[in-house]
Each structure stands twice: as C-alpha cells, then as structure tokens.
C-alpha cells in the first residue's frame, strides 16, 4: 500500500518536473494557433518588412517593420547606455568595493529589480520625460531616447548581478599570479580577470538585452506610442511589446488585427528563446 502511494507520488513528481517543458511548448503552440492565421492575409515577408502598421484601416495594413525598428532603436540605445555602466558597476562591486559597501550596493540593485515596471514607468513619466523634453527642446519628451534611458536602467539588475557572478567566479590564483608579477590591481582586472570572465559577462549582456526587448509597461508609458518608421531617437516610437499591450484590448477576437498581434507575440517569443538559449550556452561554457 505504501509502495503504491509512493509510486503515484513519484509519477506526480515526474509530471511536474517536465511541466516547464510542457508550458514552454504550450505557450509557443497557442501563439502559433492564434497567430499563424495572419499569413492568410499577408505574406511573412510583407508582415515583417511592411512599412505601414494600420491595423484598423480598411483593408488593414499589417507591416510590423516600424515596430521592429522601434524596438531595435530603443534596445540599441539601452544597450549603449547599460553595457558600460552595468559592467563597470559589476567590476566595482566584485573587485573594488569594500565588503560592507558591497552588501549595500548589491541590496540597492536588488531593490531596483523588485520595483514593478509600471511604477518605474510612472516615475519615468513624471521625471525623465519632462527632462528630455526640456533638454532637447522637443514638442514632447515621450521619445525613443526616454525609453532607452529607462530600459537601460531596468536592465541593470540583470547585467550587474550576472556579470558580478562571472567576475567573482574567476579563480583566485589567476589574480594572485598577476599580483605576483607586479601588476597593479587595475591591470589585473583589465588583462586577467575581464578576459577570464568574458563569456559570463557576454551572457549577462545578452540576458540584459533580453529583458529590454521583453519589457512592456514602462516602455509603453514613456515612448509615445507612434507606430511610424522612426527617423531619429528624439521622436515617439512604438515597440513590439507596447503594440500588443496597447492594442489587444480593442482587437476583435478572431479578427485580422487579433491574429497580427499574436504573430507579433510569435516574433517576441522566438527572439527571447534565441537570446536565452545562447546566453545559457555561454554560461555553461564557463563551467
């Protein structure tokens, strides 16, 4: 009797064990189920590279290139800002900061990871957006640049914690060897520790960028939501994620618009899948 009970429990454990795989597949299947229908209306090429997104005009124009470029522009901006600052901070925490300060800094960065994105979006609206507007003397501060700055900020916890981990796990004798040869601390960091931790830092950057591409609420609240081809970083743009979040409420279930938004979901899923698998490979290479 006990054996039978344990047999059932262990089967249940196995089922839950593979639940994660099941859910990943399920998510993808349901995105496909609802999204692929859009290709009855537009070709995949037209969908990805079409320059106009007018989903409710008659007939609807379902090209997501402006959205892809919006996402790319914002992400690129965020990457340029966040990579040097994030990696710099990780080096400072892992190598330079005193133990006590280190704990405080780590707690501060963990705190940032805990702040809900809608709260950061709200704060961005009341602080960052007017700032950008005034500095560049723009008609509106809701721009790609504001989004980039905010997203760079939001990517920090990911980049800093993973990069710090990678730096920290460089064997101590590398460092001692370099010191023994008379190198300064900075030379050691620059020539020995950074190269040794490079694949982990790369993974940190990729996962940070993954976070940026997937971020929805904050970016929707401060980038201005104009689904047009972006001409500069100082104009409103609309990202892939924000498009789904902003328009799904109005889309008719089973309509073209609805299919198109799910197809955007497919694109996002594939991007995040690619990023996560690659980053995971980098992290495993390190071990």
């Amino acid at each position: 009797m006990r054996k039978f009970k344990e047999f059932i429990i262990e089967k249940l454990i196995l089922i839950c064990g593979i639940a994660s795989i099941f859910f990943v597949v399920l998510i993808f299947l349901f995105l496909l189920k609802e999204g692929l229908a859009v290709f009855n209306i537009v070709s995949p090429f037209q969908f990805l590279f079409g320059k106009s997104w007018y989903p409710i005009s008659e007939p609807p124009q379902l090209g997501i290139l402006p959205l892809i470029l919006g996402s790319l522009l914002v992400t690129l901006g965020a990457a340029i800002i966040s990579i040097p600052i994030g990696v710099g901070c990780a080096i400072y925490i892992a190598e330079v900061a005193l133990l006590k300060i280190k704990e405080i800094l780590k707690a501060g960065i963990a705190l940032l990871a805990d702040i809900p994105s809608v709260v950061l979006g709200f704060i961005g609206m009341v602080t960052l957006v007017p700032l950008v507007k005034n500095i560049f003397n723009l008609p509106t501060g809701l721009t790609a640049l504001s989004g980039s700055i905010m997203l760079a900020f939001m990517a920090m916890p990911t980049i800093v914690s993973i990069a710090e981990d990678a730096l920290y796990s460089v064997p101590k004798n590398y460092k001692e060897g370099a010191f023994a040869l008379g190198a300064t601390h900075w030379q050691t960091i620059y020539r020995v520790i950074l190269p040794a931790a490079s694949s982990g830092i790369l993974a940190a950057i990729m996962l940070g960028i993954g976070r940026v591409i997937g971020e929805t609420m904050a970016v929707m609240m401060i980038t201005g939501n104009a689904a047009v081809m972006p001409q500069s970083i100082l104009v409103p743009v609309r990202t892939l994620t924000a498009t789904i979040a902003a328009e799904m409420g109005e889309a008719v279930v089973g309509g073209e618009h609805y299919f198109a938004l799910f197809a955007i979901g497919i694109v996002l899923f594939i991007i995040s899948f690619a990023i996560n698998v690659t980053a995971d490979l980098f992290l495993h290479k390190r071990q």
Binding site: E6, E10, I13, L14, I15, C16, G17, I18, S20, I21, F23, L26, I27, F30, L31, K33, E34, G88, C89, I91, Y92, I93, V96, A97, L105, L111, D114, I115, P116, S117, V118, V119, F122, I123, M125, F153, M156, T184, H185, W186, Y190, L207, G214, T216, M217, M221, T241, I244, A245, M248, L261, F262, G265, L268, F269, S272, I275, N276, V277, D280
Partner: protein, 283 residues
C-alpha cells in the same frame, strides 16, 4: 612608469565608482520620491474606499483586494507544481539529459516577455477554456509566469540540505520518498518559503500578463467569484497615469506607494526569513 600605472588605476576606479553611483543613486531617489509624495496620500479612506468620480477621487480598495486575490490564486497554482518540479530536479534526475532540458525550459520560461504571457493567458484560459476575463484566468497566467522563480529557489533550498542526511536515512532502509518527505523537505522549508514570497511579490507587481486576462478598467465593487473581472493595483496605476486625464497627482503617487510598499514588504519578509534561518542552521 610605476607612478603612471597607479594614476591610470585611480582614474579607472573613479569611473567604475561613477557607474555604480549612476545606478544606485537613482534607485534611492525613486524610492524616496515615492515615499515623500505618496505617503501623505495614504489614509484610511484611501485604502478602504472604492474609486469615485471616474477614479479622480475616492480610494483604491477594490484594486488592493483584486491584487490579493490574483496573487493568492497564482500561488495556489504555482507552489505545488513548482515544488514538485524542484524535487524532481534536485532528488530524482541529477545530471541526466532530461534535467538539462528542463533547466533550459525554465530559463526560457523566465525569459518570455510578460506581455507574451498575457497573450498566452488570453488564448488558453480566456478563450480556449472559456474562463473569460476573470480572476481565474489572471491567476493561472501569473502562476505560470512565477513558476521559474519558485522552481529555482526551491531547488536551491533542497540542494542545500546535506547529502549525508539523505544517506543516513536511506541506510536505515527508509524509502526515497519518505526521506524526502521527512528529512529533506522540513529542512528546506525556509528556502522554499523565501522563493514563494519572492514569487508573490513578482506576481503582485506585474501588469502586462493581466491586461487581457482579468483587469477591469473601472469596477468600483468587489469581485463576487473567481469568474469575475477585478481591478488590480499595477493596472490601476497604469490607467490613472496614462488613460484618465486630470487625476490628482496625490492619487497617483498614493497608488504607486501602496504597490511599491506591498512588493517591497514581501521581499523584505523573504530576506528576513532567509537571514533568520541561515543563522539558526544546525549543520
């Protein structure tokens, strides 16, 4: 030469310090700002009243209750599955190919953009299972989203229980499941609790997954069943910041404060539990 390289080091370290300040100082400012401007808005009426005059007056009670319902539902769904999955990874499938595949799936699950969870919840729970936009749909969507957090932290907690305890128990002829149930699990509970609370905090703060699965724009009453729509704090903050013109700043900051306080409080509880039990650890 020697002097030169020391000067380089000084400059380099200064920039590293600057980078750190650029992250940490804004974090501090944001928290201070929300406390400073949000705290004065908090009073009993704000917390216990329904929103009035198109959300330009009154309180946020339904949003608080909605969020509590959603988070509770999410955890009821995610904790058993996540815990059993963690047991599988830590106790049953060490080093196998399947283990590797599951870990990859967890990484991906954690990386799926939150709005895609919203789409998924809409397609599966709202439409396919016909739950409609409801607390049930929203909870299940949030539940799947926090699954990676619960699995990862629970697995760490289980793996931190010394292997020797397992060997002792097994060497007495005690079965594997009994060993897990009576030796491994009780000693992993603080870690599992920490993970659960972190999951709760995450679920409470997310907006995108509940946009199309549960959230009501303006519903000045409490939900009656799990098949009802509900307001939720993060969505409410989004709505009053972007969708409704002329909302008093006080109400916005007050809402942001309550949401932030709720999330940070849960994280604080998690940290305290972890700290307390680490000190008490007997091995």
């Amino acid at each position: 030469m020697k002097k030169n390289s020391h000067r380089t080091q000084k400059i380099a370290f200064f920039f590293l310090f600057l980078a750190t300040l650029l992250i940490v100082v804004p974090v501090g400012l944001i928290v201070v700002m929300i406390i400073q401007k949000g705290l004065p808005a908090i009073n009993w009426q704000f917390l216990s009243d329904v929103p009035r005059q198109g959300m330009r007056a009154g309180g946020i009670f339904p949003a608080i209750i909605g969020t509590i319902y959603l988070v509770t539902g999410a955890i009821i769904f995610a904790l058993p599955i996540g815990l059993l999955a963690a047991i599988y990874l830590s106790e049953y499938s060490k080093d196998s190919m399947l283990n590797r595949l599951i870990k990859l799936a967890i990484v991906n699950l954690a990386g799926v953009p939150s709005v895609v969870y919203g789409l998924f919840g809409l397609a599966l729970f709202v439409i396919f299972f016909k739950f409609g936009a409801s607390i049930l749909s929203g909870s299940l969507t949030l539940g799947i989203m926090i699954l990676p957090i619960i699995i990862t932290t629970s697995r760490e907690a289980l793996e931190s229980v010394p292997q020797s305890f397992r060997e002792v128990s097994l060497s007495l002829g005690v079965s594997k499941w009994q060993t897990i149930r009576h030796i491994v699990l009780p000693n992993a509970i603080p870690g599992i609790l920490t993970g659960t609370i972190l999951g709760l905090g995450r679920a409470a703060g997310e907006t995108a997954p509940i946009l199309f699965t549960v959230a009501a724009f303006y519903l000045p009453q409490l939900p009656g069943s799990i098949f009802d729509q509900a307001m939720a704090l993060p969505y409410h903050l989004y709505v009053i910041s972007t969708q409704v013109p002329n909302v008093d700043e006080k109400i916005r900051y007050g809402t942001a404060f309550v949401l932030l306080a709720l999330v940070l409080f849960m994280n604080l509880v998690a940290i305290i539990i972890r700290y307390k039990f680490r000190k008490k650890k007997k091995w």
